[in-house]
Symmetry: C2
Subunit: 164 residues, 2 copies
């Protein structure tokens, strides 16, 4: 059994999804977004992300963490903000002694849909279908968090067979 946390870091909104894998069966334990108020200063917004991630790590027995790798085709301002949030997420991962795995949005989409250029809606649809959810996961960032957890679970067997 493995519990995988997927994190899609962002300063305004950090998506997350927590998926349990047991003998090939997948269960969605939790998902959502950590939102930070745009009126607050960046250090305080990062502190909100830090505190909420801490709560998730304390509440669940997480085995591995899958984090979105920076996609370089975005603008520099976005890269800076996302990286600052990513830095805080990675700090929490280290504090709790967990292993980090990183995937680009393209890799996550490929693993779930087979097409790296799939839309946000395609990702939501794929996540809903894979986890038998009654409604599609919203907002986008939460769906991306779940997709990252699933991407890591799908990638794992290959890693295991290489190691064996």
């Amino acid at each position: 059994m493995s519990v995988i946390l997927g994190i899609d870091p962002g300063l305004a909104s950090t998506g997350f999804g927590l998926v349990k894998e047991k003998g090939g069966e997948l269960t969605l334990l939790s998902y959502g977004v950590i939102k930070t108020p745009p009126t607050r200063k960046v250090p305080d917004r990062l502190f909100v992300i830090y505190t909420k991630l801490h709560e998730i790590f304390e509440k669940y027995d997480i085995d591995q963490v899958s984090v979105e790798k920076i996609f370089f085709n975005t603008n520099l301002k976005t890269v800076v903000n996302v990286s600052e949030a990513r830095g805080v997420a990675m700090l929490v991962i280290s504090e709790f002694g967990k292993e980090i795995f990183e995937y680009t949005p393209l890799e996550a989409k490929k693993a779930l849909i087979g097409n790296g250029r799939a839309s946000k809606r395609d990702v939501q649809f794929a996540v809903q279908r894979i986890l038998n959810m009654k409604k599609k996961p919203t907002p986008d960032d939460a769906a991306d968090g779940i997709a990252l957890a699933l991407c890591h679970i799908y990638t794992l067997p290959y890693i295991r067979s290489i190691e064996a």
Copy 2:
């Protein structure tokens, strides 16, 4: 009296300088670099930065913090790594309830030397002269940390006069 901490964030090396200002007189309280081993994973390297910055904030009664703003003329890989370290530094600033001020390397050089294109050596020389240091501050990143603290101190009187 004000105690200003300057931080030049970086994943491999985070420079810092702590300067006390009292009635126009400047005293260098501490300076140095936080180095992280390149053999370790990024989350663990960020944890080293986090722990060491915590120690500095616990040891000294810091009033304000001056942090280097990302200089966009660098490559993207550097922007990501520096932003991740910056994110952790800003988190600590928020944890200790301190105010953050940000300056680009160009602004810091201009404030100290009057020339935004000054070399690393020029910065070391200026810092040494301003603080009457027996030898020049090394390494570069530590000198940059001190320079950021000095830049903020030099900028403060103008802010005060506008507020007055």
